[in-house]
Symmetry: C2
């Protein structure tokens, strides 16, 4: 077992629990928020700054690192930890989300597109690429074109495991297909059954016993399917479980999905909610029994000038902050709030200075770290 | 006297000297390289990172801060030190360089244009603005249009002092006109005489005795004029002296300018060479008696992927570095070289990640800091 998970406390009023995931690279206190470092870097900040914020782990994207610099190069450089100089736990996703982002999502046009075209500033180019609908799912895996250069690639469960073995994260995920909210029950079931077969193949081909493999529950926003999937995946020999795929369009659907899935997952293993979420989402989902979360929201919002605050968000770019001596939040203990005024942050964004996104990323990640700390203490 | 300058050692083989500039915000060991933080931030790095690199002071640009966020806002926020959270010495230039960059330089097309249009990504727009030739010099001062919004502004010596008093740097500069290498001796002399009259007006209108005011020697690449200017400015009651303006097109001219100027400047006051320079320039100019230097070169090169190394420059973006486990320089003690491979830096630049420019800026500033330290030790 590459990780150990201990539950140290359970809530009496909800399904929330406090725990510790122990890995070779240190512990993750749960419930935890996992910052995303898509391309082997949390955008704009050093690993020292991330440690000072208190982040205990981070998640990198398999699809992106496979395309650039390539998982073989990362392996040659000593693995992700050494490559990016992060000696704490790392997670990698399966790359399966790209089936959704580059395949089905393109057919149905349900967004998420911008987030996977970070290099494309030219929207015309993005649209052209999108129109080619360049991902295709088969029983064996998924064929897709690189968003970087249009080259053809084929991911299978075995390939995803091989890439993730090369990257060398502490916690990795089985290869799955992430359906769209636009898919009907028939397609969603076919896809779920295929994901279950892919889960077996992922488990069978996972070669590195130092890495913990998590299975992923799918099944769209359909109760029967989610229950079936949670039971099926939950009975397999995974070290933990991700809840992924279409979490429904209205928020209510996401909570339903958790209600349908979590009771069928083994109590003693950690549960990760993929790609979620906002502070509000996290508060609710912890109560439903989720242990860990990853999301680009805090870092992306920060880069765009929005600070997370107790009451919601504060846009430091607004002219009302030009002469405001106050920090983002007087009560916040982060580096940014301890040292800089809203006026300075406002200036940095208006002057297109890199330090603006950097300081805001630090604030937002600290906000999340602090939120999760409070949640752990409150359970 | 807002600063004290002590010479602690003089070279026997050259005009080089080791010294200490003492300010209210700490000391600057000379010879020193002063990093440039144009818009109240050294692009991409925090003040803590800058301190860890060892930088003892930094220089901000009066013209840019006057336009954005405005010197009155900076004053209201407690001055530059507080605004940008830098408690060590700060320098501001006079804004006079913009007379060159936005005025004469436009007429003669001698470059430096790109550097003052950081916000313009659209070259067509930049060219259009340039064609309007929007700076005009009169006896009273210089009229110019903002490169941000085209608004009309007028700088005089009194205005420059007022702005610099508001910004509150430890060391500030008299308002000067910076001539172009294309100007003939007649215009260069007229301009120099005007700069001398502006020097008197700057001295007379400087209102903050806690700030040290430096005069600026002009006179183009003409021996008689440089000698005249160095004597004239050198005899005035400034706390130190800048050598500015056209430092000639061939490097040889710059060394001539220093040979003609420095002997006429008082021995006991510090000498700053404005906007210079490369490691090679600094090595030579220290021997000619220059104490301090500011230049955007190390930070700009770093942001563009070029690392300063003993033998010159190393472009980390090149494909030959894709699998290179070595740091930029095995002997370098900087944060970047201690923790990251060329392969990782190469990846960051190819993936358009902010951390690339950040880590390279840190290396290049450390390189300069270390170079100047070695120079001080060698004198």
């Amino acid at each position: 077992m590459a990780i150990k998970f201990r539950i140290t406390k359970k809530s009496k009023s909800s399904h929330a629990r406090v725990g510790v995931i122990e890995t070779e690279h240190g512990v993750i206190n749960t419930p935890a928020f996992v910052p995303v470092g898509t391309q082997a870097t949390v955008k704009g900040i050093t690993v020292e700054q991330l440690k000072n914020i208190g982040s205990e782990s981070l998640l990198c994207n398999t699809y992106h690192l496979y395309l650039r610099p390539g998982d073989k190069i990362v392996k040659k450089m000593g693995g992700l930890h050494k490559f990016m100089n992060w000696d704490r736990p790392i997670w990698t996703d399966s790359g399966g989300f790209q089936v959704f982002s580059l395949g089905a999502a393109l057919e149905h046009g349900v967004g998420k597109i911008a987030s996977i075209f970070p290099g494309h500033k030219d929207l015309g180019e993005t649209e052209r690429v999108i129109k080619e609908k360049f991902a295709r799912v088969t029983e064996d895996g998924v064929e897709f074109k690189s968003h970087l250069d249009g080259s053809q690639h084929f991911f299978t469960p075995e390939k995803s495991m091989g890439i993730q073995n090369n990257l060398g994260a502490d916690i990795i995920f089985a290869f799955d297909e992430c359906t769209s909210p636009m898919h009907d029950i028939k397609y969603t079931q076919e896809s779920m059954d295929r994901t279950h077969r892919w889960a077996k193949r992922s488990l069978a081909s996972h070669k590195n016993s130092r890495q913990a493999l998590f299975g992923i529950v799918q099944g769209g926003a359909y109760k029967d399917l989610r229950e079936t999937s949670a039971k099926f995946i939950g009975n397999m020999d995974f070290s933990g479980f991700g809840i992924g795929g279409s979490l429904g369009k209205p928020k209510r659907d996401m909570y339903n999905v958790l209600e349908w899935s979590i009771p069928h997952l083994p109590e003693e293993k950690p549960r990760h909610l993929l790609g979620i979420g906002s502070p509000e989402d996290i508060l609710k989902c912890v109560k439903m029994g989720v242990d860990t979360f990853d999301c680009v929201m805090p870092t992306r919002l920060g880069r765009n000038g929005s600070a997370l605050v107790a009451r919601g968000r504060l846009d430091v770019r607004l002219s009302k902050h030009l002469k405001d001596k106050n920090p983002i939040d007087k009560k916040c203990g982060c580096y940014t709030c301890q040292n800089y005024s809203r006026a300075y942050l406002c200036h940095l964004f208006r002057a297109h200075e890199m330090l603006g996104p950097i300081l805001m990323t630090m604030h937002n990640l600290y906000f999340m770290e602090n939120l999760l700390k409070k949640i752990r203490e409150s359970i």
